[in-house]
Amino acid sequence: MKEYRVAILGFGLVGKVAAMMLHKHHQLSIFEAACDASQNGAGALAAAMLAPMAESVNCEVDIAELGLEAMAMWPELLAQLPTNVMFQQAGTLVIAHNQDMGDLQSFMQRLKPIRGHHAQRVLGADIAKLEPDLAGRFHQGVYLPSEGQLDNLAFYQQSYAFLRQQGVQFHFSQNVELHPQSHKSGIEMVNGEAFDWIIDCRGIGAKEQCDGLRGVRGEVARIYAPEVQLQRPVRLMHPRYPIYIAPKPNNEFVIGATEIESQDSGPATVRSTLELLSAAYTVHSGFAEGRVMAINAGLRPAFGDNRPRSSIKGNVISINGLYRHGYLLAPAVVRQALTKELL
């Protein structure tokens, strides 16, 4: 394969996945608006759950199936990194309080059939077996065995260090204005540098140039709670948005996420904080003495149909709109977008 000079715009989740796929074959330069790699984009805040079945409740079957494809790609991507990044496929447990059984029933009704994957109805004894800490607290739920999650903070840190080591050039504090040339020379310019290809992975940062792209606000808490032992992500039915508790290494838990049609990326509100943390507390009282490490807000980039989109104009490949499905879909969506020209 011919080696190209490739510029990746944006070093969020999609930019990282693209770089991990391309660095062996091409010379990469990464342009990022933030001043360093410790940015707070949607991908850094997310719980990084790989939940195609649970998400199928609100998305089309083909998106959920793409999620399965992507889940199978993660181990290979992570295997490139020198240190182990937690990748787990121990399923998701979905539970509800008695008052919210209607929401659990509605969730089960709306689960879409995905080839070869089945939801299992569980009762108190099964819940106790799966999650001993929840024994006696919940009496009905659903277990989605094929789902997983990964440690996104470790992935963020390690992919940056690894790509640097591989000779990828990084340019931080770079706000790139993109004007695709579609000229015959096949050369695209980024801040005065010439490239054969540009991969635009700016997410919500590309809003001005991306028709119909909007931000969907999400608020997420990160809690250190050594009294709580959960083996896998737990979803709690909630009338407004699905609340999940994803256990991460070192007794940390990511609790999220609100979903508000707003472009406001300001700090989390008191109401959202109360909703998220009280939901977590009702699942496990051990959260009461947990430490709040962070409560952050971010914008998920989304198009009107909440489906990801990729396009090629001139020598610019744009990938955007992964909405709440960044980790679920990124490897598959990025591979689809890059395959013909660059992989």
Partner: protein, 263 residues
């Protein structure tokens, strides 16, 4: 047969008697398709959680793009001050003096607070708003709201999002009977199209719903089903249903039938 009149909301008339909400859809595109399938002419939208005018612009533009009359609401407000402030923001964003006034009194079942509702209604009417209060099915409360100057009232069918239908048909019928000149819209708690049909059959002028459509397996199909139900219910009201009887009355006279067929 009763006389057919279009739905009248503060002097504006509408053919459709289904008001539709804009929350909880799987995506904005599905929302737009469902709104279209519902044949609604009025869409209600919440502004409470956007925090600022600029923050919600993208989503509100999608609502404006439907071309429907927008009825902003104060969902999520718990005090008179919050509701009045938000009503003013709604006026700025959607350039309308209509406001669906929603003031929550109980966090768990989202029951409207009747006392605060009266106070906020008075303030907003004095400020020139056309208030559509979301209230419980209490006759005296409805009368008080009308006495303040509300031309439209929106008593609940059941708590928001429960899908239980008309929990107290007696109360709703009483309000209809005692307030014949007020536009009455059943708001909240409907789950299936027959609930909407029932409200219209009772003489309610319209229904407003969100979760029953947005939370359906196929919101677009369900929106269409509600549209048909509302039309059926209204037609039944206009046609005047036969009175209910306790004793069977055969539709075919038995005289002239062989006696062994008459049992």
């Amino acid at each position: 047969m009763r006389e057919e009149k279009p739905l009248n909301i503060y002097g504006q008339t509408f053919e459709s008697r289904l008001l539709i909400g804009s929350a909880l859809y799987p995506s904005p595109h599905i929302m737009q398709e469902a709104i279209c399938a519902s044949q609604s002419q009025i869409v209600t939208v919440s502004l409470r959680r956007q925090n600022s005018v600029s923050a919600g612009e993208d989503f509100w533009q999608l609502i404006k793009d439907t071309g429907l009359t927008v009825l902003p609401n104060t969902a999520g407000c718990h005090s008179v001050k919050e509701a009045v402030t938000l009503a003013k923001m709604c006026k700025e964003v959607f350039a309308t003096d209509w406001i669906k006034l929603e003031l929550i009194g109980d966090e768990y079942n989202l029951q409207p607070d009747p006392v605060a509702l009266l106070e906020a209604t008075e303030i907003l009417l004095q400020d020139g708003f056309k208030v559509l209060p979301y209230c419980t099915d209490d006759l005296v409360l409805c009368q008080r709201l009308a006495a303040l100057g509300c031309e439209v009232l929106m008593p609940w069918g059941a708590p928001i999002g429960t899908g239980k239908g008309l929990l107290n048909p007696y109360n709703l019928a009483m309000i209809r009977q005692r307030m014949p000149d007020t536009t009455l819209i059943v708001d909240a708690g409907l789950g299936v199209p027959s609930h909407a049909c029932q409200a219209l059959e009772m003489g309610y002028d319209a229904v407003l719903l969100n979760s029953a459509i947005a939370g359906a397996g196929c919101p677009v199909k369900m929106a269409s089903a509600f549209n048909h139900a509302v039309q059926a219910g209204r037609a039944a009201y206009i046609a005047q249903a036969m009175p209910e009887k306790d004793v069977a009355a055969p539709s075919t006279p038995t005289m002239g039938m062989p006696f062994w067929h008459q049992n």
